[in-house]
Amino acid sequence: MNDIHTYQKIASQVRRDILRMVTGAGSGHPGGSMSSADILTALYFKEMNVTPEGWNRAGNGHDLFFLSIGHISPLFYSVLARRGFFPISELGTFRAYGSRLQGHPSIDAALPGVHQASGSLGQGLSVAIGAALAKRLAGDNSRVFVLIGDGESQEGQIWEAAAAAVHHKVDNLIAMTDWNKQQIDGSTEEVQSLGDLTLKWNAFGWECIVADGHDFNSIFEAFDRANSLLGAGRPVMILFETEMGHGVDFMAGTHEWHGKSPSQEQCERGLAQLEETLGDY
């Protein structure tokens, strides 16, 4: 699958899944799920070397992905299901009692594709660094990916981890930020400004790449560039510039839909803007 159009089609279906899951559950986080949708589609359908059959929680012999921003679970679950990790019909159980698709990803629920629980913010980058070090110790040449949020980068632990990755020369790690510039209470600028994230990651000693998180050409170029920087003693951060709620006009570019579910009518309006490409669950 090298045609950009193919990935756009998958991402369109993934966005439909997100809308329908959040609407069906009556709660959840559509905004960030929409902003990261193209990044995760690119990861799971092209960039990462992982298959549902070969997947194991330890990540032995395959690329590992950690979702630090656990609240965008609708996206994570949709991509995993569409990639064949579990039946797509299960997407309809999102947030329901007894479901493997917990509000935030859980190990307890034993959902294939999930390596670690997340939801309480700030923790995933540290875990990814540990997993990358485990791969180094085991002589496993596969990579570790982790997605963090820009709002999440207000957490102190992110910057503890930023320093640690450089200190330990973790160079089999590709971290990514969904830089959508919104969080629950408003824009990141209003809530607690992050300044120039590029300067910050560079100052901590990371290789830093900025890309358009909604342009598959830009996303794949960023991964190519990141791969070329691995193995040289430094960790890599890709800052993906994105738009919260991307793909649905009334959700786009505002914090209002960070953690709110649409009404049935709003859901229909959104779905009308997203082509059904792979069949709804």
Partner: protein, 317 residues
């Protein structure tokens, strides 16, 4: 009463260091992380012998717990070490989500626990750590009593699949556990057979409880003495059968009453076999600077206070 011989005072943290070094040589999966307290936790021998498996994390405990979780996911058996205060309260949410809820095989090595940390004072003397760790599903809580038992507990923790909180201390204390005694997680050690009262002790209070039992025996009071090194899971059978036999229980620990061994035992006995109880522990206050022995006495955590608690519960003046 069975005799227990102190083979010489030693600190329990050195028992941890010795156990970790032993693990380093026998198990290549064992790795260690430390937050700028390598010397204090006696982890330097491991760090020197296995530099590729030792990760200095600096004064950044939250990240250390996360890194340990990631290493565990990848198949390593990480021991993450720092003072008990920073190993629990400071990183509670990281332990909750990244370790316990995520079922990662992380061992938290917590030194300088309790009031015997001494001169540094209350900022560093955590007395709530066992309570915090006990509340977490999937967590095992171990508080060994001396050097030999701490070494054995460290080795046992590595063999256990799942999160473990291993608590030990700073000062030299009597070392009386036989070298090479197998450490069985969740299994109480029955130190003395008695009938008048049950004394259940953990950590540094076990030696004090042995001294108390000897004194009480001379006064005609027979003590059934349990060393509970594993606070969670509790050895229910040992505790219940002793309480049934004696009808009275005194618990002794270097911790607040809230959340500690005594409350764990009380919760068990309230359901299974209610008996009168007394708690040799600290009641809802912070510590302060002082010498360890001086503080143990001032805060009511020594032999004399165990003897007094036993006499009170039996009704002997």
């Amino acid at each position: 009463m069975k005799k227990y011989i102190n083979t010489g005072n030693k600190d329990t943290r050195s028992g941890f260091g010795a156990g970790l070094s032993h693990l380093g040589t026998i198990n290549p999966k064992v790795v260690a992380l430390c937050a700028d307290l390598t010397g204090s936790l006696k982890m330097d021998a491991f760090a020197k012998a296995h530099p590729e498996r030792f990760f200095q994390c600096g004064i950044a405990e939250a990240n250390m717990i996360g890194m340990a979780a990631g290493l565990a996911i990848g198949g390593a058996i990480p021991f993450a070490g720092t003072f008990a205060n920073f190993a629990t309260g400071r990183v509670y949410d990281q332990i909750r989500q990244s370790v316990c809820y995520s079922e990662t095989n992380v061992k938290i090595a917590a030194s300088h626990a309790g009031i015997t940390l001494g001169e540094d004072g209350a900022t560093h003397q955590i007395l709530e750590d066992m309570g915090l760790m006990r509340m977490l599903p999937n967590m095992v809580v171990i508080n060994p009593c001396d050097y030999n038992q701490t070494k054995a507990a460290t080795i046992a923790a590595a063999a256990w699949q799942g999160p473990v909180y291993l608590r030990f201390g700073r000062p030299g204390v009597p070392n009386f556990t036989p070298e090479g005694q197998v450490f069985e997680i969740g299994k109480a050690l029955h130190l003395n057979e008695g009938s008048d009262v049950t004394v259940i002790a953990t950590g540094h209070l076990v030696w004090e409880a042995i001294q108390a039992a000897e004194i009480l025996e001379k006064e005609g009071i027979s003590v059934d003495l349990l060393n509970i090194h594993t606070i969670k899971p509790l050895d229910r059978e040992a505790i219940i059968s002793s309480a049934v036999k004696s009808g009275r229980v005194v618990c002794a620990e270097e911790h607040l009453i809230a959340g500690g061994l005594g409350e764990a035992v009380a919760s068990l006995l309230a359901r299974e076999h209610p008996v009168p109880m007394r708690f040799v522990a600290i009641d809802d206050r912070f510590g302060q600077s002082g010498k360890p022995a001086q503080l143990m006495s001032a805060y009511g955590l020594d032999t004399a206070h165990i003897v007094a608690a036993v006499k009170e519960i039996i009704g002997v003046k």
